[in-house]
């Protein structure tokens, strides 16, 4: 499979009063065409900032300090703002966690969909009437695709007139309007109830299969990853700590953090057995020493771990950032 997105040694920093925060510190990743990559991590692990950096959406006091981002053969970091704007929304689309704040409350859904097409679609007819009806037809088609009943009527409504699940679908519809090659879905179902979550995730999987699009699914829920992603990348304190095929990473984790995360999930099957939480908390990202970032919470840590640890091969298509990964297998 050919590579669609390739990020190498990405570093994104935020200048704060407390000091320089390296929210993303040396992240490398690849997304193949048609693939679904799951990105897992807890709050502050850098998963959202990584992909905001890819989208060119990091604002001051943050900045992308180092690394390369190649999309479909083009170097995104070298692009002028207007060139990046042309790619964003057309070739790469991102849906935000909170649909209510991401949608414009003062515009109807139809107007928001039209904005995207007018900005990005060169194939629209130039005659005014034909243009209008082309935009309308496509909007109706997209809302139908994401399973919104009576799309003609719904186009004239405002975001507040929709339920949470419907709003999330509208964001997906807007993101898909220009048939992007890559959809980045940032916690698409976190705010949703479980029955609605299942509907939205299946929708994304369906559309991905139908349009042959690549998907990056950012989530904190390993269950969602297990059911929907081909590969998974686990992040901790601004770094990737483990990466590989979903079944293998979840079935036999090679990094102690991944293992701890899996052991932390309460499961009905484990009723009556003690849960084994990871002790302590995520380290403060200001002024982190270059050593392994998990070592203060790691049950396997020893003196030798107080060094900078690179991603190490952990089997075919797998990597983990742990000196003791051999002992984990």
């Amino acid at each position: 499979m050919s590579v669609l997105l390739e990020v190498t040694n990405l570093r994104t920093e935020f200048a704060t009063r407390a000091g320089l925060v390296r929210a993303v510190d040396g992240v490398s990743l690849r997304v193949a065409r048609g693939e679904c990559l799951g990105v897992v991590g807890e709050s502050g692990s850098g998963k959202s900032v990584t992909f905001s950096s890819v989208m060119g959406l990091v604002r001051s006091p943050g900045r992308v300090a180092a690394g390369t981002i190649h999309f479909d053969g083009r170097d995104l970091r070298g692009l002028a703002p207007e060139e990046m704007r042309a790619i964003r929304g057309r070739d790469i689309a991102m849906t935000m966690q909170d649909a209510l704040t991401a949608l414009n409350p003062a515009l109807t859904v139809g107007e928001q969909m039209a904005e995207v097409m007018i900005a990005h679609d060169d194939t629209l007819p130039s005659a005014r009437g034909a243009r209008r009806s082309a935009i309308r037809d496509r909007s109706v088609e997209m809302l139908g695709l994401v399973g919104i009943p009576a799309p003609e009527t719904r186009l004239r409504q405002y975001p507040h007139e929709f339920s949470g699940g419907m709003r999330q679908r509208i964001m997906i519809a807007i993101a898909l309007t220009c048939r992007p090659q890559l959809l980045i879905a940032d916690e698409p179902t976190t705010a949703l109830d479980v029955t609605i979550q299942a509907q939205v995730l299946e929708l994304i999987s369906d559309i991905r299969a139908r349009l042959g699009m690549s998907v990056v699914l950012i989530t904190h829920d390993l269950g969602v990853v297990a059911e929907h992603c081909d590969r998974v990348m686990v992040m901790y304190a601004g770094q990737v700590v483990e990466e590989g095929p979903t079944d293998q990473v979840i079935g036999a984790p090679r990094h102690p953090y991944t293992r701890g995360l899996l052991a932390s999930i309460p499961r009905p099957a484990l009723r009556g057995q003690p849960i084994r939480p990871i002790v302590g908390q995520v380290p403060d990202l200001v002024g982190l020493p270059p050593q392994c970032r998990f070592h203060s919470r790691c049950p396997l840590a020893r003196q030798g771990c107080l060094v900078q640890v690179p991603m190490l091969p952990a089997g075919p298509g797998r990597q983990a950032r742990c000196l003791r990964l051999e002992e984990m297998s």
């Binding site: 299942a198 995360l261 084994r276 939480p277």
Partner: protein, 335 residues
């Protein structure tokens, strides 16, 4: 006798009437957030209350403690009818019945120190004051995994998980028997969530506590509950021992809820999944008959016209559905 008995409890909120409604004395729209709920919690058990947002589970928890005054029904705690108590007696009763809130940021006063927040119930109930109160507060803080040296800090100096520990300490300080845990781990990251769950279970065991544990997360409920009650649009649709409800759900709503949970170790293609149509109906205008019929794949004529009675299925398991006898299941193989 059960420690807590709830019978026919309702909480209705009146919408603001329009001018016409005011003139014609029409009561206007009423939200039936909790509608005729009956349940019992035995001493020393965890009753898990599960449901999606807007189903009324938090309102039920608060109505039980009379933090929201119930519209109808009865709550009995250890033989005393809580719903009949006058304010001074209710206050005394609250020493024995406490609550832990979901949001560890919004539920702690940012301008009070930990000593003041956690020690407040001691003063309110006249349990202790001064140095003695400080000592008790320090002991409780250590019990929940914080340090006595943190007594004079403010909430913003703590992480989300630590704040939830402060909320737990506040609930524990008056030495209660029963605690309503209202989504206490939903706002926390997975690894922190596990720490708090472990703490709550340890406290329950060591102090002989009884919990009503409210959550939308089936994995959490399934892991720590002894019995489970499933709520939909203000009503309990199924209740029973945790193993019975999770392994052999009988109500179509419970079945679809369980099948929607993404699971580790179950591949998507191998798992039976019930796809519910549509969203939760508005509680302002709930469907007639069985409230689940608008989304239920099994609904027939009677479901649209008459509300089903709750029926005993044996072994403490009960459900409210017209079609229980037909042995239908939405889950593959009708397990």
């Amino acid at each position: 006798m059960s420690l807590l008995e709830v019978t026919g409890l309702s909480k209705h909120y009146a919408g603001r009437p329009s001018l016409v409604q005011r003139v014609t004395r029409d009561p206007g729209q009423v939200v039936r957030a909790v509608n005729g709920v009956s349940l019992a919690v035995e001493r020393g058990e965890v009753l898990g209350l599960i449901g999606e947002s807007g189903c009324g589970k938090s309102t039920l928890g608060r109505a039980i403690l009379r933090l929201h005054e119930p519209s109808a029904g009865r709550v009995t705690f250890d033989g005393t009818e809580v719903t009949a108590l006058a304010p001074p007696a209710l206050k005394a009763m609250r020493r024995r019945m406490q609550i832990i809130f979901q949001d560890p940021y919004a539920s702690l006063n940012p301008r009070r120190t930990v000593a003041e927040i956690v020690g407040l119930p001691l003063a309110l109930h006249g349990i202790a004051s001064g140095e003695e109160a400080r000592e008790i507060t320090a002991r409780v803080l250590e019990r929940v995994g914080l340090k006595a040296g943190q007594l004079d800090r403010y909430p913003h100096q703590f992480s989300g998980g630590q704040r939830q520990r402060i909320g737990i300490a506040r609930a524990l300080v008056s030495n209660p028997e029963f605690i309503v845990c209202d989504e206490p781990v939903s706002a926390l990251d997975v690894s922190i969530q596990a720490q708090i769950i472990a703490l709550l279970l340890e406290l329950k065991r060591d102090l002989g506590l009884t919990y009503l544990f409210i959550s939308h997360d089936i994995s959490v409920i399934g892991y720590l509950s002894d019995r489970v009650a499933v709520m939909y649009l203000g009503e309990i649709v199924e209740t029973g021992p945790v193993a019975a409800v999770l392994d052999n759900p009988r109500h179509p709503y419970t079945q679809s809820l369980l099948s929607a949970v993404p699971e580790i170790g179950a591949r998507r293609d191998k798992k039976a999944r019930v796809r519910l149509q549509g969203d939760l109906p508005s509680p302002l205008n709930p469907p007639k008959g069985c409230k689940f019929h608008t989304r239920c794949p099994l609904a027939t004529g009677i479901c649209r016209s008459a509300a089903p009675e709750t029926r005993d299925l044996g072994g403490g398991h009960s459900a409210a559905c017209h079609r229980l006898d037909e042995g239908l299941s939405l889950l593959e193989g009708g397990r």
